[in-house]
């Protein structure tokens, strides 16, 4: 598998997946360039999580391939970090916050001291201080726990950050906060992010590109560029006509296929 565009961090080629003969994904094709924030959006149950698991190398697709910087993803490759929707289950309840963040560092050869320094730095990036670092994750609010999961992913210094409905389990205010946090971090650290969501507003607000999924089995309806600039604001950006237009367009792409049968 060779990638022609040198800039592509991740490429999915003809990706398809079936569970026991029932196809959920078919012919998914896209590339994600380095330093881009890309959201994959589609209705619930369309196979988004399956797609993300294939992108992370946690699951082999039935057909097609995924490659990271030209290397085929048959297992989780170095440099790919993942933030799950369910922070309460993805953090280790028996370890302190800082130990949770240290895990990927220690696992990849960092010394105890270096891991601690890096972990505290990553926690500071998401706005958690040393007091929070010493607590158990379940002693924190949901939003704070998801910050811990984000810090753990950042500490890994990922070339690609995957996020599976990361803000779907927190309240609306926390969600807006976390969205802005991710936008800021993505700009500051020049992260390549692929975020899966069912929320069209969220997808448009965060993205440089929106990959709209539709159909059963799900396929890429269209890849929509989002030229809303680097500086975005929950109120101002969402009130612009451009935002409304993009939102309507993505909505149409997703809904347009609702009735079609395969």
């Amino acid at each position: 598998m060779t990638t022609t565009t040198g800039e592509a961090t991740l490429a999915a080629r003809g990706l398809g997946h079936a569970y026991g003969g029932r196809a959920v994904l078919a012919d998914i094709d896209f590339e994600v360039e380095r330093g881009k924030f890309v959201c994959i959006v589609g209705p619930s149950g369309v196979g988004k999580t399956t797609l993300l698991r294939c992108l992370a190398g946690l699951q082999r697709s039935s057909s097609g391939s995924v490659s990271l910087s030209g290397r085929e993803m048959t297992e989780p490759l170095p440099g790919v970090a993942l933030v799950f929707q369910d922070y309460s289950r993805s953090l280790m309840p028996w370890s302190s916050v800082v130990h949770n963040v240290e895990l990927p560092l220690r696992a990849n050869g960092a010394s105890r001291g270096a891991a601690r320094t890096e972990a505290l730095r990553a926690l500071a990036l998401v706005g958690l201080d040393e007091v929070a670092a010493g607590m158990y994750p379940w002693q924190l609010s949901g939003g704070m726990q998801q910050r811990v999961a984000i810090a753990r992913a950042l500490a890994y210094r990922p070339t690609l950050l995957l996020m599976d409905e990361p803000f779907a389990s927190v309240d609306a205010y926390t969600r807006a906060d976390l969205e802005d946090l991710m936008l800021r971090l993505q700009r500051e650290l020049q992260l390549t992010v692929i975020l899966v969501t069912h929320d069209i507003d969220e997808a448009v607000y965060l993205s440089d590109q929106v990959i709209a999924l539709n159909g059963r089995p799900a396929t890429v309806a269209e890849i929509v560029d989002v030229p809303l600039g680097a500086d975005r604001d929950q109120v101002a950006t969402k009130s612009t006509p451009e935002f409304a237009e993009l939102r309507a367009r993505v909505h149409g792409l997703i809904r347009g296929s609702r009735g079609t049968t395969s």
Binding site: A56, G57, L58, E75, P76, P78, V80, A81, L82, F84, D86, R89, S90, M92, P93, W94, S95, L103, P104, R106, A107, N108, Y136, W138, Q139, R152, Y156
Partner: protein, 264 residues
């Protein structure tokens, strides 16, 4: 759950009042006893002090038992956790061996004493193996369940972040299974104590069980009662030690459960 808020003096008082009352009742009810089988508590306590509170008696009667118990129980813990982890991680192996394990588990450890005597003689290694064998099962089965019950998302996390086998075992699998491992270890401790006493009634290696039987055969009824008392106290103290260790190791679990309860 309100009792959780009370301090340790209150807890101590709560735990001690009934034994104290019973001892007082026992003391007065038995003080005038002339029955050979139910001697006055005062004479039982005299025997108890003689047999269990002086260093010579302790070294002869209690130390061999404690050594046996510690070794047998440790052997059960280590082998139960190791085998349980392997079976828990290899799903097919666990399903294939489950019926056999459940059957073996159902056999009371002490019922195997005769066959163990035939196989291993009546010396200390037989007793050690019998204790280990009998208390192995609860540790094993609970470890299997604990390991199989590990949050799958955490295993995904460990794969994505490329956590190696050893670290995954130490940082995720064993801590995740620890509440259930402790539940098994607690049952195993009670079984160990029972098998220890019974196994000591054969052979001549000393120990509480041997002492108990010897006292009965020599018609030293006060000493026999004293030994029973000593066993009760030993079991109680072992349980306290166990609880202290459990509270330390599973501190996170206890606090988390308390939090879940208060939120529901």
């Amino acid at each position: 759950m309100r009792a959780k808020r009370t301090g340790w003096p209150a807890t101590l008082a709560l735990e001690l009042w009934l034994p104290v009352v019973l001892v007082i009742v026992w003391w007065f009810a038995s003080s005038a006893s002339t029955s050979v089988y139910f001697p006055p508590l005062s004479s039982i306590l005299t025997s108890f002090a003689h047999d269990w509170l002086d260093p010579v008696g302790l070294a002869k009667n209690l130390v061999p038992s404690l050594q046996l118990l510690a070794l047998g129980y440790s052997l059960a813990l280590v082998s139960g956790i190791v085998v349980g982890t392997v079976l828990g991680l290899v799903g097919g192996l666990e399903r294939a061996t489950r019926p056999l394990l459940e059957t073996l588990r159902a056999i009371p450890g002490v019922a195997l004493l005769p066959i163990f005597i035939v196989l291993f003689g009546i010396d200390v290694q037989m007793k050690l193996l019998l204790i280990a064998f009998g208390s192995f099962w609860p540790v094993l089965l609970n470890t299997i369940d604990g390991v199989r019950g590990i949050e799958p998302l955490l295993l995904d996390v460990s794969r994505v972040f490329r956590v190696g086998r050893v670290r995954r075992l130490v940082s995720i699998i064993l801590p995740g299974a620890s509440p259930q491992i402790f539940a098994g270890a607690r049952t195993a401790l009670a079984i160990s104590l029972i098998i220890m006493v019974v196994s000591e009634t054969v052979g001549g290696n000393g120990g509480v069980g041997y002492f108990l039987l010897a006292a009965q055969r020599n018609f030293a009824i006060s000493s026999m009662w004293g030994a029973i008392l000593a066993l009760g106290i030993l079991g109680y103290l072992l349980n306290i030690v166990f609880r202290i260790i459990e509270r330390m190791v599973l501190r996170w679990h206890r606090l988390q459960q308390a939090r879940l309860e208060s939120h529901s």
